[in-house]
Amino acid sequence: MYRQLIQTIVLFIVLMGSLHVQAVPKKYPYQAVTTVGMITDIVRNVAGDKADVEGLIGEGIDPHLYKPTRNDLIALKRADIVFYNGLMLEGKMADVLMKIARSKPVYAVTEGIEDEGDYVLNTEAQHFDPHVWMDVSGWIHATRVVAESLSEYDPKNATFYQENANAYITQLKKLDNYAREVLATIPENQRILVTAHDAFNYMGRAYGLQVKGIQGLSTESEAGVRDIEHLVSFLVENKIPAVFVETSVSDKNVRALVEGAGAQGHMLVIGGSLYSDAMGKTGSYEGTYIGMIDHNVTIISRALGGSPPENGMQNKLATAH
């Protein structure tokens, strides 16, 4: 009986060991793995047909709280090059990414921008704001960082990456201008953006909005009753017409603001759902970085009393809400 059992166990282990199925034939020269969609988009645009790009954190998922799964581990281990945002955006993945970095090139895109000078916002001591993509010119920096990193990894295609990056940057510059224009249509005393968490500081700085988030830089921090009360009286005093929810954050706190303002006789509405830390559905226009920002600025402008075009910059937005 004992012997049979032991034989079964040994057989089981041998079986599992022999199941190492090997790689599927490769269509692309190398494999790039990224975390958030905004970075996936850059790498896809810059690497073109040279790399198969796989993003780990999908639509509507909060990167601050995202925990990697077995599938992510496999993807990271098989990747040739890895890009992530950095500055603690992927809070729970930092350890894993650091371990992966021992054996292959891993780039923190926003930390590359940080090296370039004092672009990155630094709120409290040693606490950097990771939401760089909210300012399109920040993401132009990021595109350059990606192009340089890819050239470093694959020097013989450096000019190819540079050309792709330049083409993408041209599109981003258009987007940057559009954002500036539509946000400037908001009446001056209403340029105040209140959202579920503190993700919009870069947008505020770049396009002249005052920004307040209910939760802090990371969704890990909780908002107290005090914070909500302060925000409500701020909204009522300044007669702000709308606040915004985010696709990757619970709308509980924002609804509390609306109710609080209602109790003080101020009609506050939810201006729409913004893409803050995750993009829209894969394959849709909002599932690209350009579509995401187009959606955000168009919705913000409309809800705060500006006059943006009905369907956004390229007339591609779904009737947005």
Binding site: Y2, L5, I9, F12, I13, M16, G17, L19, H20, V21, V24, G58, K67, P68, T69, R70, N71, D72, L73, I74, K77, D95, V96, K99, I100
Partner: protein, 315 residues
């Protein structure tokens, strides 16, 4: 579905966890102290916090010691309260671990709020990520084998538990079933009790730092209880519980890969699925066990006493 080297390692680590836990787990189930592992896994928090405050780094050996010491203290306090205060063991376990856990939370919030000590990262290791920490590499034929640190740690714990169980088999058995008989035979039943508790504390702490607490608590109790349904002999029960736990680890990981895509999800946690699988195996044993199973009891219509209502007849 594709199976990778990492998957094999995850299953091996899960199986080692299962074996390490099942051995002391059997004695816990027999002594009707199954929740001790759960209690210890919560109670160690102040130990972790104090060790962190003293050394200033996490995942260090000091933290392991701090946690293990508080783990043993949990057992000591539980024993005191239940013998002095006329409180039953389950309740005194509840008192001790909630108090210690709360103390740990206070310590973390008060003293360590500004530093990076998230109870989550201490309490809930992730078994999926263990293969990233390679402790030892060697060449076998043409392939390099990279042994994860977790496999080494849990392998050592399993071995440690095996040695103790083999060396003190008779003493552990007698003091589990009949402490008074043990004393008349010159065995220090008290010593055996604390030896077992130390074993549980060391196992729990070492294991949940690497693989997370859910799977540890599941592996400590469920495979042992399942084995208890299948046999009345202690030796066989120990062996069966280790096998059942290891089987649950392999099956659980397989299900974690296969099932979510079928219902349209992307992936799930392996440790959760391993724990669920131990539960499923228990249900199977509860239904089909040869003697104590629901079906065989129905068929034989004999009034067989449930094995959980009292100690086993010794073999």
């Amino acid at each position: 579905m594709t199976w990778f080297v990492d998957d094999t390692w995850i299953v091996i680590i899960g199986a080692l966890t299962a074996i390490a836990c099942a051995l002391p787990g059997c004695f816990l189930v027999l002594r009707q102290m199954s929740m001790m592992g759960d209690a210890i896994s919560h109670a160690v928090l102040p130990g972790l916090a104090i060790a962190f405050l003293v050394t200033g780094e996490r995942a260090s050996f000091t933290m392991f010691i701090g946690a293990a010491v508080v783990g043993v203290l949990t057992a000591v306090f539980t024993q005191w309260i239940s013998s002095l205060g006329k409180v039953d063991r389950g309740a005194s376990m509840g008192i001790v671990f909630t108090t210690l856990f709360a103390l740990g939370l206070l310590l973390i919030v008060q003293a360590a709020d500004h530093v990076d000590l998230d109870p989550g990262c201490v309490l809930y290791g992730a078994i999926e990520m263990t293969t990233l920490d390679v402790a030892w590499e060697f060449q076998l034929g043409e392939t390099w084998i990279e042994v994860p640190r977790a496999a080494m740690v849990l392998g050592s714990v399993a071995l440690f538990n095996l040695i103790i169980v083999v060396a003190f088999f008779k003493e552990l058995k007698i003091s589990a079933f009949d402490p008074e008989l043990a004393t008349t035979q010159g065995i220090n039943a008290n010593f055996m009790h604390y030896l077992l508790m130390t074993q549980v504390a060391v196992t729990t702490v070492a294991a949940f730092e690497v693989v997370g607490s859910i799977i540890v608590i599941a592996m400590l109790v469920t495979p042992a209880a399942t084995a208890h349904l299948l046999t009345d002999r202690l030796g066989l029960m120990l062996l069966l519980s280790a096998i059942i736990g290891a089987l649950a680890a392999g099956l659980g990981h397989l299900l974690a890969i296969v099932i979510p895509p079928l219902i349209g999800f992307d992936g799930t946690t392996t440790s959760g699925m391993m724990a669920v699988t131990t539960g499923l195996l228990f249900v199977l044993a509860w239904l089909f066990a040869p003697r104590y199973g629901w079906i065989s009891r129905l068929v034989s219509r004999k009034d067989v006493k449930s094995p959980f209502s009292g100690p086993l007849p010794s073999d």
